[in-house]
Symmetry: C2
Subunit: 397 residues, 2 copies
């Protein structure tokens, strides 16, 4: 039996090797409203209190609480956006809108619903306490406060906070640029009609979509024929224009496996054989993933190895999908001689997670991934599973 020159290593060990060889990319400044789904590279502090002044929380009347329910003489109006000019003396009130500065002298706001106005007299149907419906300066944010620490993943609320504190340009980690390519003489483009012996290329597009979802931008290197020259040219293009190269196909053990020997020439192969078959190298410090050619294997290998690397490069702290124990709804066949990531649909029921697989699990059968929201981590070393057993699942959906 011909042995592979690369020892077979466990998936977790391979993940650790990958992460040890990738680091967050340099930071860049972007407009705050283009920072969605990026990761902050520096702490953001507040330059002012928020609200910056005592602000009314309601539309109503600014009053002095100590006046109780006695009718107030209406002095005028305080609109939002204008500095307070009136002064609320005992027995008086100022009409006020939500967000407007509470005029000096007033210590509470009474909602318009609890008032009636006749001429310049305001009647209150209840008393108020000092501070009622007044947002004191700094209630939400205090000047000098750390609002968003470095490492924060930026969502809609974080965009709003950046706007609030006036941080219109923000330092975020660069998005990884991923070069994708496929290898295999049997491949034609999706728009072409395959001749006998040929099939359409799908992996390049699947992997590009997965890279987009992981927050990367994509450089499409196209499809390389199975020659050392073509591969070398494509690799060079990828390394020149991207931070990460991802190939699919050409990594099995046959004599036409050209990818890994070429990687040994130009870089360092860190592992060449995991049970689910990817190779991982670095070339001039750039990570290079050689994924298998079977469509499902290649997308699963992307999930398990490439996505965590891209997340680390983009500055995220959470690199891995959530893993949870799920209960199998039916028997699951599994070969003990290798680990497998079976495609499954996981659902909640009575506070527990249940899983059913998505039909025939052939490594070429992309259909087994349609609708799947989980990968069941079926381990090396034990065989079939029975309905009701628990297995660990990566929640990918």
């Amino acid at each position: 039996m011909t042995e592979s020159k690369y020892p077979m290593i466990p998936v977790e060990e391979a993940q650790q090797i990958v992460l040890a060889h990738v680091a967050p990319l340099p930071a860049e400044d972007v407009p705050f409203d283009e920072a969605l789904d990026r990761v902050l590279a520096e702490d953001v502090y507040a330059g002012e209190d928020m609200p910056p002044f005592a602000a009314s929380a309601k539309d109503g009347f600014a009053v002095r609480a100590a006046d109780g329910v006695q009718p107030r003489r209406l002095l005028g109006e305080q609109m939002a956006g204008l500095m307070a000019t009136l002064h609320v003396e005992p027995g008086t009130a100022v009409r006020i809108t939500t967000g407007a500065p509470v005029p000096p002298g007033a210590d509470a706001v009474i909602m318009v619903e609890y008032t009636t106005v006749e001429g310049d007299t305001v009647r209150l149907s209840k008393a108020v306490q000092p501070g009622d419906d007044v947002r004191p300066p700094g209630q939400d944010i205090v000047q000098g406060q750390l609002v968003l620490p470095a490492g924060t993943a930026i969502g809609p609320a974080e965009i709003g906070l950046l706007a609030t504190v006036g941080q219109v340009r923000v330092p975020v980690y660069a998005r990884p640029r991923v070069a994708t390519m496929s290898t295999g003489d049997e491949l034609v483009e999706p728009g072409e009609t395959p001749a006998p012996g040929q099939i359409r290329d799908s992996n390049r597009y699947t992997l590009a979509a997965a890279a987009h979802r992981a927050g990367a931008t994509v450089v499409d290197l196209g499809h390389a024929p199975d020659t050392a020259e073509a591969l070398t040219t494509h690799f060079g293009e990828g390394l020149a224009h991207a931070d990460v190269v991802v190939t699919s196909g050409g990594v099995s053990m046959g004599e036409l496996d050209l990818v890994k020997p070429l990687l040994e020439e130009i870089g360092t192969v860190h592992f060449g054989r995991v049970h689910i078959k990817p190779g991982f190298a670095t070339v001039d410090g750039k990570p290079f993933f050689a994924l298998p050619g079977f469509p499902v294997s290649s997308l699963v290998a992307f999930e398990v190895f490439v996505r965590p690397a891209l997340r680390k490069m983009a500055g995220f702290r959470e690199l891995f999908r959530p893993r949870h124990h799920v209960t199998l709804r039916h028997d699951v066949r599994h070969s003990a001689d290798r680990p497998e990531f079976a495609r499954a649909i996981v659902e909640w029921e009575d506070g527990r997670l249940f899983a059913r697989t998505t039909g025939f699990q052939g490594s070429g059968r992309l259909l087994s991934l349609v609708g799947a929201n989980a990968l069941l981590a079926l381990p090396h070393g034990r065989g079939d599973f029975r309905a009701g057993e628990k297995v660990e699942a990566l929640l990918i959906g």
Copy 2:
């Protein structure tokens, strides 16, 4: 007490009213590799078998299983991408690569690892069964099969399937175009320094980011001063260039609440007062959401009312966030007189979901949304909750 002219209605009723007034947008054809996160508007069928021919699943030798372990005479090589030309007679073998057509006469492939070659003799270290490592035509997809039904949300695997079956243009529902604007005389742009009485606008940016996340494109209408003329102009712009208009601010009960009266003039107000305060109207059939001006209230109202509507317009079948019961880690103060969506961090522990809130829950305090992955639905009609109690949570993260 002045009464609002709009009756207070429950959140769930308001959600149903919204969904009854929105429909999926028309379909449009897009290139398959730009269809990520869109929803298929028509069924997609396979035009051919996949694989289209009996294909080798491994690098090795195509043989006849009935020959057992006897050495085979090597006839030549069958590469991937080429039509099969050799014929495997009894006692012979053809070298074959993964994905190559299995030559006529052969009924199995033996992996290269189980073989040795001397000259033109191939020795096998084990016998094979008919069908071993051969992927029969149609194993993954059968000609005429429904591969992706209308309504499928398109992810990386679906992109790969579209490539596989050669569907290079795909009918998907249009993305909703959302026009966003904010109202309020106190607002200045994030890049400006607020004068006394002013604050920076954040809602427009928060809502635009939330709309992006929901799969919409955004038309920024900017910030309108609190005058009927300005609002009318902005509304007209939004209705002319977008499928949905979302405003923030100007919907409280004060005399300056101009938004809803204007909507009554130009359209139909379906509700004007839910506990969490949005208004919802349609104008010429287009949905129009008037969200509150407080930053947290406006984003929560977007989550609860606008996002499901955008999802429906984009063709998604799953409109709502998952809701689960979570156990409170600490006491939670809550006022019985209104429902509230409290911002919380939900975590797994021992197979159960636990929640802690994100500090002071002021409706202006965007910080309470930072890091939050859930909204606790604290109901109308009961007060404070104790640590250990269960409440329902919308998982938003």
